[in-house]
């Protein structure tokens, strides 16, 4: 029945066609209020089983793609309006906005896929601003030839991830590029959130005496990806730690909000890169203890055989926090109360020595400086 209704609103009538041309960023067919926000069941089927150039052209085929795949999955009032942009009502306060693009390969990996990653990644960036996520956008660049079924899986995964966090995907965009010009699918998500009152976190806020905490084990995500990468794959139960941190961070802020100086999620480049950025920004010295850093046994094994340092390997569900020393224990408790923070640990402190530098005290007592990584760490033979 919905099909029939949508038919009359297909952008092949002159007015709608023009509207499509001038506003290529969203499907522009207006839906009567009676249909807005209502569940759509079942989603209209697509004739094609693979993405074609026309699916991104703003015409009938693109509308069918939206109706069949995206709109049913992300169903919410703002999106259903299918306007060029979405309207959000916000209580007064400070806003945070964050954007991220996801180009991961393979698209599906142990513990997640590009879709869930795209939702978690941006939700987490907002959380690192001390913000509660309000809404997400999702932009897709699809490669000609991508199986529609693959796209459905990814979109379904985004739907679940967003629903779990309680964040609507309110507007989006779809483009298609020629075969060979993309890696299946690239996704960009932008998130808007409201910053909790009284919270001021900033990478330049670390001060000597502050403590450094990690919310859990590191390098899980990077190792999970490498385990399925052609040429170096290995058998493991390690899964990506991709997860939304909004809740975990909320618990932390409830407990010690005013004493939190820095909040970062160590994604690409790992914990090392984030520490180096903070040290430089705060012009402070950071000291960490190798023996205190939580690493899963299997992740260590994988890093040993590939010759990688877990400090530089990506994470997608972890939080690094710098807090005032008197709140360190309470912060640790707050993390450990949450399922995602069970393995949280205090791993170091901010010092007055060696400003701008990060020093790690090794397991056997010697020290080394942790430098910024140059380029992607490649598994080595030596």
């Amino acid at each position: 029945m919905k099909d029939k209704n949508m038919d009359t609103r297909r952008p092949d009538s002159a007015a709608n066609h023009t509207a499509v041309r001038t506003a290529p960023n969203a499907a522009t067919a207006a839906i009567p209020a009676s249909l807005a926000g209502g569940p759509v069941c079942p989603a209209p089927a697509l004739e094609e089983d693979a993405i074609q150039m026309a699916h991104g052209a703003g015409g009938r085929m693109m509308q069918r793609l939206l109706d069949s795949v995206f709109l049913p999955a992300f169903d919410n009032p703002a999106l259903a309006l299918q306007h060029d942009g979405a309207f959000l009502d916000v209580e007064s306060g400070r806003l945070a906005v964050s954007t991220d693009s996801f180009v991961i390969s393979p698209l599906f990996f142990p513990g997640g896929d590009i879709g869930s990653l795209a939702v978690h990644g941006t939700v987490n960036d907002l959380a690192m601003c001390g913000a509660r996520p309000l809404a997400l956008t999702a932009g897709y660049i699809l490669e000609e030839g991508l199986p529609v079924e693959t796209l459905r899986r990814i979109v379904g995964s985004m739907r679940s991830a967003a629903a779990h966090v309680g964040v609507p995907i309110v507007t989006g965009d779809t483009k298609v590029v020629d075969r060979g010009k993309g890696d299946g699918v690239f996704i960009n998500t932008t998130g808007i959130g409201v910053v909790r009152a009284g919270i001021r976190v900033s990478p330049d806020a670390a001060r000597p005496g502050d403590r450094i905490l990690l919310s859990g084990t590191i390098a899980d995500h990077g190792v999970a990806i490498l385990s399925v990468r052609r040429g170096i794959e290995f058998g493991t139960t390690v899964e990506s730690d991709s997860a939304p941190l909004a809740d975990l961070v909320a618990g932390l802020l409830d407990a010690v909000g005013a004493d939190v100086r820095v909040l970062r999620d160590p994604t690409r480049g790992g914990v090392a890169s984030v520490l180096c950025e903070i040290a430089a920004s705060s012009k402070a010295g950071l000291r960490i203890e190798e023996s205190r850093i939580p690493v899963r046994e299997e992740v260590r094994g994988a890093c040993e055989i590939l010759g990688l340092d877990p400090l530089y390997v990506a994470n997608e569900g972890k939080c690094l926090v710098i807090v005032a020393p008197e709140s360190a224990d309470a912060a640790l408790e707050a993390f450990r109360r949450h399922p995602l923070g069970a393995a949280a640990a205090i791993v170091g402190e901010v010092v007055a020595d060696h400003p701008g530098k990060v020093v790690q005290r090794s397991r056997i007592g010697g020290a080394r400086i942790v430098e910024r990584l140059s380029g992607e760490p490649l598994p080595r033979i030596c």
Binding site: S227, F234, G235, T236, T237, V238, E297, E298, R300, G301, A302, E304, I305, G307, R380, I381, C382
Partner: protein, 102 residues
């Protein structure tokens, strides 16, 4: 030159390419490894692996040598005696006794 990592052999079989291959466990991570150079290694043994090849079987007895040396040193230090080696009055140039397994 190089990255050799010890792992535990969990399975051995003849692969389709006719070379003895094994499954080696490194702290929970498993990889297929060529066992052609260490045919004496069996399931449960530890082998040193480099670029997908087992190069030696780890001698568990010898593995304790490092710690035995430390223990001896500790005892002798307590007793105020010089460390092993210097007491034997070896001529300069002669090969020390404990060079490798006998």
């Amino acid at each position: 030159m190089c990255l050799g990592v010890p792992g535990k052999v969990t399975r051995i079989d003849e692969a389709s390419i006719g070379m003895p291959m094994g499954t080696v466990d490194f702290g929970g991570v498993v990889k297929e490894v060529c066992m052609a150079y260490v045919p004496e290694a069996g399931v449960g043994d530890f082998v040193l692996v480099h670029v997908g090849f087992a190069l030696s079987r780890i001698d568990e007895e010898e593995a304790h040598q490092v710690f035995r040396t430390l223990a001896e040193m500790g005892e002798l230090a307590d007793l105020g005696l010089p460390r092993p080696g210097s007491a034997r009055g070896r001529e300069p140039g002669t090969a020390p006794e404990r060079a490798g397994r006998s």
